[in-house]
Subunit: 350 residues, 2 copies
């Protein structure tokens, strides 16, 4: 009989790691033990779990010897190095980085959408990109109902998606701006992408670059939305293009999504489809000025959808405004939900 799992959090001290601990405090997953792993630099720090102090341990391969499920959120290179070590030791890995997402042997899972893909896992399950997840929760039920022919999405993404240091950076830039400093005198070392050559201030600005630039002048973030969507929805033919933009929001990604459905659907039926969708809360009453807002999404697990309206010219065209906490459904909550689903489907090999 299963007396609970040993669960490890890799990258426990980061922006997502902190939220992973919160989500594990709330999970239904039977837990025997929680282990916090991080770089040598962070080892020895004490973090609270359910009111109890847990020491952060150094991430070494042997740390996985007694771990059933490990949730990784410490960057792609850490996942590349240590996820196989964990799998070798019988650990099931839920990986928050982009490292294994497009790997053909790795399921890429949003539990409300494609939990059946978990059945084929070979030790690693990838958690999709934050901006993809909230779009998937919203679009999958529509696709299932009437099909989706094309998607055009423009994002309004929060800073916490770029990590805790990026949040500190924009707070400092914002304070300096309020104190009268000019944009050209603000220091910027992280955004738009830590790994990139140039850095720009985001305070009171909008940066049409997230992650590095890649093929065809699209950014990696834009390609993630395109490729991950096709993989999760198992639809290589779907037309989809993305424009990913970072805005001065701390937490809560917003997305302006245009879709064209394959079959006709009335606005009423589209709304009903979303109201019945798991993980979705419809917030949409223009007579009361009700629509999703980033600051209202913080700390909530659902994805919020509003501004649901028909395109002015295309019968099968609809516009949606989709908002979710990028650290929760976009990362920590989706990962813990994957772990819960693995348990429910009896797919954790203890």
């Amino acid at each position: 009989m299963n007396d609970g799992y040993n669960v490890a959090v890799v990258g426990a001290t980061g922006a997502v790691g902190t939220k992973l601990i919160e989500m594990l405090e709330q999970t239904n997953l039977p837990l025997k033990n929680v282990k916090l792993l991080a770089s040598k630099r962070s080892a020895g720090r004490k973090l609270l779990f359910k009111g109890e102090g847990l020491f952060v341990e150094e991430l070494v391969p042997e740390a996985f010897d007694d771990v059933d499920i490990a949730i990784f959120s410490a960057g792609g290179s850490i996942s590349q190095k240590f996820a196989p070590e964990a799998v070798k030791r019988g650990t099931v890995v839920v990986d928050n980085t982009s490292q294994y997402r497009m790997d053909k042997d790795t399921p890429l899972v949003v539990p409300e959408v494609n939990k059946q893909a978990l059945k084929d896992h070979q030790g690693i399950i990838a958690n999709p990109n934050c901006s993809t997840i909230q779009m998937m929760v919203t679009l999958a039920p529509i696709k299932q109902s009437v099909g989706i022919d094309r998607v055009i999405v423009s994002t309004y993404q929060a800073v916490s998606g770029a990590g805790a240091q990026a949040v500190e950076e924009i707070k400092q830039q914002s304070q300096e701006t309020l104190d009268g400093e000019l944009p050209e005198n603000l220091s910027a070392e992280i955004l738009p992408a830590a790994s990139d050559k140039k850095h720009y201030p985001l305070a009171f600005n909008a940066l049409a670059q997230i992650d590095e630039f890649a093929e065809n002048d699209y950014t990696k973030e834009e390609w993630k939305m395109v490729n991950e969507t096709k993989k999760i929805l198992e639809d290589k033919q779907m037309k989809i293009s993305a424009t990913c933009v970072r805005v001065p929001v701390i937490t809560g990604h917003s997305e302006s999504i245009y879709i064209e459905t394959e079959d006709k659907i009335s606005l009423t039926d589209l709304r009903a489809t979303l109201e019945n969708a798991p993980g979705v809360t419809v917030e949409d009453d223009t007579s009361q000025q009700i629509y999703p807002q980033a600051i209202n999404s913080v700390g909530k697990k659902d994805t919020f959808v509003g501004r649901i309206r028909q395109d002015l010219d295309i019968d099968n065209g609809f516009h949606l405004w989709v908002v979710s906490d990028n650290l929760l459904k976009g990362a920590a909550w989706n990962s813990v939900q994957i772990a819960e689903t693995l348990h429910e489907m009896n797919l954790v090999h203890v």
Copy 2:
């Protein structure tokens, strides 16, 4: 012989009014005298014009007796009341409000795009909405070259478009947030629309509402972009839908614009079309992380276009990132440019 015009600024003390004075300081328009008009409350204040103190005078019908050109930027109801009074007195009115924009006898003008429409003016010329203008400067040359079948635009609009008080509001909210205040404790009395029932904080947030809601759950701002575009481009058949969003930017509207052209055009030719377009500066080199940014647009008269790229699925589909100073090209500069053009075309009846 024309020894210069008497020009009045109505609403001289507002966010746009201040910029109108700056633009008149720089204009080529021969000026005889500049008169600053505002509400009784502001009358008597002294504002600098070319280093000289000018008293703000009270806005009354007789103030237009000796005025050749009046630029209005004091709200729709002021324009409704006083623009006809000005016209009655032989003044040509350039109106920055939405009051006369869709009036069939009023030309709606972006000088780079449709200055020929000025010929039919009957005393009032309307300045389009800020978010429309920068899109027109960008799309008109493309439409002229290969036609445009459809447009889908999502905006990232700055606060100064909602006036000086809205700027103060977000600055205060931002400071309180940085000091640790929770979003639910922030005071909001202006945004998203002063005339509306509910107000929400914009600091570190994104509000998918600009102006009030109107038909079909689109906002008035969204309808402005749709209807003004069709009027300016003289194309009632163009398919266009908009999602207008306010973001925590002080000045500089950004727009994620998707277009489908009627005829085929290569990416190279599309770029060349924009490079040759009047009022447009192309900032687009992903290898150097060059793309338009709101904070860089401030104080500049041009509209900046970047992230020019082909849709991933549609041959005739392209994505653009379009940024401009909403107080200059979006308002004050376009108005003064209209006055200059009226002069060049000999359409000011002195």
